[in-house]
């Protein structure tokens, strides 16, 4: 109990320090993500749950952020918000300086397609549609010509090591392979922002390592990566780790291990 308390106090102090450090460090750069006082409430009246209870988060281009926290702490809710898949009850979200809540359906579709690559914990591939077509799909919606999107899809699948599985349906692929197809799909559109909700949750240690290497490369190429994880090994690869609890960010620190 005493130890917990000490840790908690320590965390609060840390958060304060880091917040100042972060804001000093990033002040001059235009953030890719800026979330202010985000609140997400489910249900009404006495039954209402605050999945997000006032979250402030600022991520600048090129960052590699891991979000951690206990189950139900609001990580996925926050991630869905960042991916423009869901809307918040109150607060504001600026993506590349544009306030997302002001965008209409069509503009949102463009943002989802062009700016964001979203990787779901449960893959979310289109069933009965082969790997190549799944990867091509977002590009098709962007109006990219068949030949170009095909070559880009093949390249993306090559990067994730699935050159020999182009014509396999999701049901014919292992969990790890499906997740890699999902990664290829997110990468092929060359998004500035890669969001991944527990991308390694269903993977073994080898697949996890491969995927994380891939994320490192993507980040090294200048893209912003935000991922959710429960595993310290995964979080350790990130340059910044955000901890959540009960819909709030309780710590936000530079990852010393990764930096060195």
């Amino acid at each position: 109990m005493a130890v917990d308390l000490v840790v908690a106090v320590d965390l609060v102090v840390n958060t304060k320090n880091l917040a100042t450090i972060n804001s000093n460090r990033n002040e001059s750069i235009l953030p890719v993500i800026e979330i202010k006082d985000a609140v997400k409430r489910y249900g009404m009246g006495d039954n209402s749950i605050y999945a997000l209870a006032g979250v402030n988060l600022r991520i600048v281009p090129g960052e590699y952020v891991a979000i951690m926290g206990p189950s139900g702490s609001g990580k996925s809710t926050l991630m869905n918000m960042m991916g423009c898949l869901d809307i918040m009850t109150s607060g504001s979200y600026f993506l590349d300086g544009i306030e997302v809540s002001k965008l209409d359906e069509n503009a949102l579709a463009v943002v989802r397609g062009h700016k964001i690559g979203f990787i779901f914990q449960s893959f979310n591939l289109i069933p009965r549609t082969n790997a190549l077509l799944n990867v091509e799909l977002p590009m098709a919606y962007q109006g990219i010509k068949k030949e170009e999107r095909k070559s880009r899809a093949i390249k993306a699948l090559e990067i994730v090591g699935l050159s020999d599985r182009l014509s396999h349906d999701p049901s014919e692929l292992s969990g790890g392979q499906q997740q890699r197809v999902a990664v290829a799909r997110a990468l092929a559109t060359r998004p500035a922002l890669l969001l991944a909700d527990e991308p390694t949750g269903a993977l073994d240690s080898k697949s996890t390592a491969d995927l994380l290497d891939l994320f490192d490369q993507i980040n090294a190429a200048g893209r912003t990566v935000v991922l959710i994880t429960h595993e310290n090994e995964v979080a350790n690869r990130a340059k910044r780790v955000v901890h959540m609890r009960d819909g709030k960010i309780i710590s936000d620190e530079i990852n010393e291990v990764s930096i060195k």
């Binding site: 869901d86 989802r112 591939l125 289109i126 069933p127 977002p138 098709a140 919606y141 109006g143 559109t189």
Partner: protein, 408 residues
Amino acid sequence: MNFLEMFRFAFGGLSTNKTRTSLTTLGIAIGVASVIILIAVGNGSSLAIQKSIDRLGTNTITILGNRGGFGGGRAAAARAVSSQPLTIGDAVSLNDSIKAPDIKQAAPVVSTNVTCSNGANTSTPGTFDGTWPSWFEASNTSIKVGNFFSNDDVTNGHRVAVIGNTTATDLFPGQNPIGQTISCSGVKFTVIGLTNLKGSNGFQDGDSLVVAPITVVQRSITGFSNINSILVQAKSASVQNNAQTEINTIIDARHRIKNVNNRDYRTLNQASLLATSSSNSAVFTTLLGVVAAISLLVGGIGITNIMLVTVIERTREIGIRKAIGAPKRAILSQFIIEATFLSLFGGVIGVLGGFLGSHFTIVGVKPVVVPSSVLLAFGVSVLIGLFFGGYPASRAAALRPIEALRYE
């Protein structure tokens, strides 16, 4: 995203979900086909009834005597004390253009049951009538080969006969009966005519028929006592009721009938027969229409079910598509093209199936396709397919991606 691309997406969707595609198509096709066939059966049977009534002639009235007639007999004779039989004189009196202006002609008929033979071949005609030549027109009987007998044949008592097809094949299998001789109840007749096929009216084979001059039949077989009936032809179907009144006036006077409720003769009016049977066939058609409507409903529910069962899966899929940047317009057009194609394809197959099925005789009825039923069945099924294919998709497309992904 261009139009061609949307088509490619829609057909991609159809070919990747083969079970759903074929079930939906089948559901629509069966719905359409069953409605077309059912209505065709109803229509076919009412047309068949109509045809057999038309064949009887729609403007004839049959007068039956209580004595010696079909339903007469002793009981009736005992009731009507002053009962008189029908006579040739009654028939003559009806052929009166002044007293009976609406009657075209009336022919006396003596009927009997005899067996006819040609050597070893025998036949018992369902109808063996002795009458006048005017009977042929009044009874709507036409000649296929040979001639009717003439007034001269009646006057001079020539032993000639006109026979129907059934009697002809019984007595002269594989031969031309014209000019041959048949022997009926020991009386020899020369066959001078063969009637066109009349078919069956459901009770009686209209082609099991021998008709001869009344004089010959009376002299040689029945005797000169009474006649059984008089066949009256009205000038047209519309004056049939007038003709009926004229018959009653003339015969009542001749038979000295005091109480019209106690006549010694009866009349059978084809118009009333027609009215009954056409109202019967109207009931029948309505009934089949109801059955068809129910089958359309059942077909529609089937289509709806197949469409709704896939809604959860489709909604999730739409969630994924939206999450990776599909504009609402692209999703809508994909699913509407899919639903349109499925419905039209199923509808066309159903129409073809309906026409094909209507070629077969179903429970003794030759179905006749009603064009409007084709349109109705096709239209309703396609609309159902379109609505239940398009509506859930458009609803899903309006959801936030995360809601669509979590839909259950």
